[in-house]
């Protein structure tokens, strides 16, 4: 295996992951705390003779992605919370037209302009659809710089495989922190090659093609929505990703994603040293949500504790998955605040 270890920032790891995955085109607009992404891409993509445009707005960026994706190219945009809100219309259209692309959200505190520190307040928006209509995004939640690289790479494959946008739901902390990352340079040779026999490119030697999300024919849109549902079911079946740690004998299972999970991980380690039987469930895909894994664990543990940097969003999905089998407690930190281990340790002890 060819590999090299590099110290890099989370946001740069996203860029490297995208470039390795063969990202053909990047379109973005500056917003803190993801500014390293457009800045890095403006150099790298041009050097690689790929497409880079700093768009005039987030709306333009996501619609440039629409155009590039409609040509069968691997396209990406990145932004942070308020900017992602602006992209929602375009995301709905991409889903309706079944165009694959990668969207990166390096979350900041909200609502509104909020602040620029890391937050997890966009869980609902990402997993329940911030745009209009029935649609789902494949939502991946990295908790390390290494995962910023790996999951971005994976996102391109998943997007192509299912003709659906994939969203990297990161946050300002993972985006800004630096870690040594071992990059497996073999990985780029293994990327999924899918024949895009729907893409536009001029009708030479074939019938003209049409990409649209407007379906006005009688019953046509209902049929299309059921087709999307089948696709979403397929994604659920095949692509649910979740890490569990020390849950076999756990009395309390903590559920956390992204940077919260990273902090919970060390809290779990410390609690175990104090002989507290606690384990960690970390959804890597927030959609599809690891319902079954959580449901199975709910039959073994006494309680769940959901830890997230918001007012309680994923906790709703955990409660649905647990379906009353055991109590689900919540520890939240909204507005861009970050947990320390002690707060989590204390909360576990309080609910024991």
């Amino acid at each position: 295996m060819k590999s090299n270890k590099i110290l890099m920032k989370g946001n740069i790891a996203v860029c490297e992951g995208a470039i390795a995955a063969g990202c053909d085109a990047y379109f973005g607009y500056p917003i803190t705390p993801q500014n390293e992404i457009p800045a890095y891409m403006s150099k790298k993509m041009v050097e690689l003779k790929r497409v880079f445009i700093q768009s005039e707005s987030e709306l333009a960026a996501i619609n440039m992605v629409f155009g590039a994706a409609a040509c069968g190219k691997r396209a990406m945009t990145s932004s942070s919370s308020p900017g992602i809100s602006l992209k929602q219309e375009g995301i709905s259209y991409l889903c309706g037209a079944e165009l694959p692309c990668v969207i990166v959200n390096v979350q900041r505190g909200g609502p509104g302009l909020g602040n620029i520190s890391g937050s997890q307040g966009d869980y609902f928006q990402s997993t329940k659809g911030g745009g209009h209509g029935d649609y789902r995004l494949i939502v991946l939640a990295p908790y390390s710089v290494k995962e910023m690289y790996d999951l971005t790479y994976l996102a391109f494959d998943l997007a192509d495989k299912y003709r659906n946008p994939a969203l990297i739901l990161s946050d300002g902390i993972v985006g800004q922190m630096m870690e040594p990352v071992e990059i497996n340079t073999d990985i780029r040779d293994k990327r999924l090659e899918i024949k895009k026999d729907w893409a536009l490119g001029g009708c030479k030697g074939r019938e003209p093609r049409l990409i649209r999300s407007l379906i006005m024919e009688e019953g046509g849109l209902e049929k299309h929505n059921w087709h999307l549902k089948e696709k979403y079911d397929e994604i659920k079946k095949n692509e649910t990703r979740c890490e569990t740690e020390l849950v076999d004998d756990a009395e309390i299972a903590i559920v956390a994603f992204g940077i919260s999970a990273r902090i919970c991980k060390s809290a779990v380690k410390k609690l175990r040293q104090q002989n507290v039987k606690v384990g960690l469930v970390r959804p890597v895909t927030l959609w599809p949500f690891p319902e079954k894994i959580i449901s199975d664990i709910s039959k073994k543990v006494k309680k769940f504790l959901v830890v997230e940097m918001n007012l309680g969003q994923m906790v709703e999905d955990v409660r649905l998955s647990v379906n009353g089998a055991c109590p689900v407690e919540f520890l939240g930190k909204p507005g861009g605040g970050i947990f320390n281990e002690e707060e989590i340790i204390q909360k576990v002890k309080d609910i024991l």
Binding site: N63, V65, K73, A97, L200, G201, G202, R209, L214
Partner: protein
């Protein structure tokens, strides 16, 4: 016997949905004729707008996509930057281009995107039922200007070609109309030039086509073409607004 007139290959043999007297049918035909004549059908990608012309993708016989309201220039940018050898054009109405999509058209023009825009200006919102457009002229009554457009209340009509003419990236801007055969021929010439500019990598070209909307104007088709000639073109004078095409080219 020589065949001197027939159906364009770039138009499908489908009955279109436009009202009697509407200009879209003529403009579609002109675009298709130009694409046939330039022999670029197999490398053309069109972007259909929202509004009455949304179904243009059923009528054109080449690759087409749609865009959300106002965003065709961004979609076109994404396509053209990825496939610079293809011919990419947007077909947009006045609400699409001059209201909700003002930012996109200005910046696409300013970047000098090597695309072609056909901008259909009928001074009203057609599909939604004849409301005020950015191009509605002063005094014009619409569903949302029942007393006639008043500059103090609703602002002035936007002249898109003139607005874009200050941008260095805009290569060619011309306003035409399809109100009579003579103007139709001029319109075709302009549309052809706009596509040729793209083939010659000259950057952004836009042809603004004054078009009649008898239904929403509550006129007969004959009255509507007369209104274009006698009234609408006073606010929107026909002709080349900007051309950076060098004479010897």
């Amino acid at each position: 016997m020589n065949k001197i007139f027939g159906r364009c290959y770039s138009l499908k043999e489908i009955k279109h949905s436009y009202c009697p007297g509407c200009g879209h049918g003529i403009i579609h035909r002109l675009v298709a004729e130009v694409i046939d004549e330039l022999d670029i059908r197999e490398k053309t990608i069109g972007i259909a707008p929202v509004g009455c012309a949304v179904f243009a993708y059923y009528y054109w016989n080449f690759d087409v996509t749609e865009a959300s309201h106002g965003r065709p220039p961004a979609v076109a940018t994404g396509i053209k930057r990825c496939l610079p050898d293809k011919v990419v054009f947007t077909y947009q109405g006045d609400g699409d281009l001059a209201a909700i999509g003002t930012a996109e058209i200005i910046h696409a023009a300013n970047r000098g995107e090597n695309i072609t825009t056909i901008f259909v200006n009928n001074a009203t919102y057609g599909m939604t039922g004849g409301q005020m457009a950015p191009t509605t002229i002063l005094g014009q009554k619409t569903a949302t200007t029942p007393f006639g457009r008043d500059a103090k209340r609703e602002g002035h009509p936007i002249r898109v070609c003139e607005l874009l003419s200050s941008l260095d990236g805009a290569c060619y801007l011309e306003r035409v109309s399809v109100s009579n055969p003579k103007n139709v021929l001029k319109a075709k010439k302009a549309i052809k030039k706009a596509f040729e500019n793209q083939l010659n990598n000259r950057g952004f070209s836009l042809v603004e086509v004054l078009s009649q909307c008898p239904t929403d104007w509550q006129m007969t088709p004959v009255e509507s073409v007369k209104w274009v000639d006698e009234v609408l073109s006073k606010t929107f004078p026909l002709g080349v607004v900007k051309s950076q095409i060098k004479e010897h080219e």
